[in-house]
């Protein structure tokens, strides 16, 4: 991961690396109901969605678990994920993604702008050459996910 620090004031990086860094932080600040296992499975829909930077996540620790990554997943693979990133260009609706994810504790990270009550758990939103995020806490609670107070505090909006 190449993040460039400019005189200690602000950071700059390419879009994909920034999204990957967000995914890692979401994994750290969200708690799954079934964490007594070795792997935390992060999935990315579509191919080459996040470039090579997604490899940086592989093997990273999250509490007692290690992150494994599956890229190029399709709808049918979603139940095998703990966190799934749905890129903006994804044709199927987020409601459909949620439907396939059933009531399993799966964090759905979308890229839609501001319309969170749509099935996603977290939305990444471009804003002013930066990326901010929103959280759907109601949805998260329903499927047994716990989101830390810190993450909720930094979120642009909490539904």
């Amino acid at each position: 991961m190449v993040l460039t620090v400019w005189a200690g004031v602000s950071l700059a990086t390419d879009e994909s690396s920034l999204k990957v860094a967000y995914l890692y932080n979401f994994a750290k600040f969200i708690q799954w109901p079934d964490e007594n296992r070795t792997n935390l499975r992060i999935c990315v829909m579509g191919n080459d969605t996040l470039g090579k930077s997604v490899n940086d996540l592989i093997g990273k620790p999250v509490r007692t678990m290690q992150i494994s990554v599956r890229e190029g997943v399709v709808l049918q693979d979603i139940p095998q994920c703990d966190l799934v990133f749905v890129p903006a260009g994804f044709k199927q609706s987020l409601e459909r993604v949620r439907q396939v994810a059933n009531d399993y504790p799966i964090v759905i990270v979308s890229e839609s702008t501001g319309t969170l009550p749509s099935g996603a758990t977290v939305a990444l939103i471009p804003s002013n050459n930066r990326i901010v995020f929103e959280v759907n806490l109601t949805e998260a609670r329903k499927i047994g996910l716990k989101i830390s107070a810190k993450m909720l505090q930094l979120a642009q909006k909490v539904y």
Partner: protein, 650 residues
Amino acid sequence: MNLREQTLSVVVGLFALFPVTPLFAADLDELSFEDLLNTTITTASKFSQRVSAAPSSVTVIRGEEIRSHGWRNLSEALVSVRGFEISRATDYHYLGVRGFSQPGDYNSRILLLIDGIPSNDGIYDQAMIGPDFPVDMHLIERIEVVPGPGSALYGGNAYLAVVNVITRKSDSIGRSVTLGAGSAGLLRGQANIGGKNETGRHWLISASGERSDGETRIFPQWEGIGGSDGQARDMDGERLRRVFLRYGDGDDWSLHLLHSERRKEAAGALYATDFDAPVINTDTTTQFALRFKRMLNPLWTFEGQAYAGDFRWEGLYRYSGTWESDRAKSGWLGGSAQLTSTQWENQTWVLGTGIRDDFRRDQENIDGLVKGQRTTTSVFAQEDIRFNEHFALNLGGRYDRDTLDSSQFSPRGALIVNFSEATVLKLMSGKAFRPPNAYETSYSYAGAQLPGGALKPERITTNEIALEQAIGTNGRWTASAYRNRFKDLIGNVTDFDTGLQQIQNIGEASTTGLELAARYLFAGGLDIRGSLAFQRSKDAAGEPLPNSAQRLAKFLAILPLGTYELAWETYYTGPRRDVFGDQVGGQTVSHAALSGRFTRDLLWQLRVNNLFDQRLAIVAGGEYSVGEAGNVPIIQDLGRQFQFYLTKDF
């Protein structure tokens, strides 16, 4: 402009292909949420070429569809493509494209690529599209189907269509085990382990096996001959084994090794064998490929591939109680290198060269052993010129020369007019060729078939006009009109005096067609796709080509039902002629698949082929005819069949 803005614009200008020299490279762990919220973006994500910009009428079949429908053979996926037909003979599956569907031609007019590597063997040039296709359908990310002449890029076999099967990334496949059972004693097992590490190295091991007893096949033309009731019992069994191994590093390079074996009993007294014994075909292939890609600088990319293949076939035939065998061995080595450049504004250049050495082309039967060899070298170039936001031109050509004294130039051109973001018009024209294969020039069988000898390559010229229109962001319709003109077609001719068969250049033919296709993805997840094809084909005498339906209609839907999913297919094939010129009526077949989950990691699927148990006719090649002409070689296709699968993910 301050320092930061300057640096930013340079980075954007280079599309970040050169890594930015970091002043400080931070680790993921060191970045807090607060840092991320304050991080600015230097480059936007890249997008690959949209289908509408391609200089041909591409159909893409996605892996999701393959899994929703439960397709286990490539042919089941290909029949969903507009203008495509499949004839499931008892030995192999045959693909017809745009009104040209010669039963028994071993699909030599289709180039079949696996991850861009040619997989047709060196004797029959056979595209293995049925159960003999060496890669498991579960491993496919997408299939790119390009009808029309592809010789300008790919050379010899890319005559009617190019089918490129792109496999899924190893990490996307993950770990799973599938078990299945079905009608006709079908049993099937498959296991995959795929993964990737933090440096981008990826690996995949996949293996599968299948067996079935097959069905009792019905051959009306045999009824009453020699006391037969026209039913072939216990002569349709099949055994399959496949292995796929891959190792690589990101997109930089990858190695794959695949192996497949298929043993199929084929009923129907093929090649005038005994009706009460099957012909037994065993097809074995082992293929190895290395692919590499390197960005030389931001504007130049080098791609290379090296491959090797081995294909063996053995056929066992029973004549008047005595078994005979027929064998073929093919070995090949090949490679290609290509440079892609965007050095000049609004232009993309591709320059390439390739070689394929078919060093072994052995055919052996009671007539003895015939050996052969052929080396083909080629150079090709393609240019994309974007004049403005409305007009683009794609020009390409390839020169192929082989050691059997054939040299061919294949040009192709396309003018692409973007009326708007949503409407694209394409005018396309191209030529392709197919050199005679070793089977056509050299195979003989005492008392039945003479070697073809010196045959000219077949040629085809295609002109096509296509209009593509987006329907909102979730749909598209396409209309396409084309004309194919065939020259020096290679086909089987029977001598009236001697009764001997010989493969010859049989002359000209043409097809004119119109295709309409549409696809729409509804908000609730309902995915609908359909097409109509109207096609007229005729030979030099003005007679319709055999097995060429004048109308085709296709309808496919994937319907989410809560956590279940229903996938539906209906295909209509219009009236066509058999190989003797007699009319065969139109027919419709439907298949359905229902999927769901027992648990989060345990998926089930029920597929029913030929749901309404329709009586379907397959127009077969002359190899199924009964003695004298006049006995119509029609095979009755399979009736309703059930398949049930369980997939466990780990």
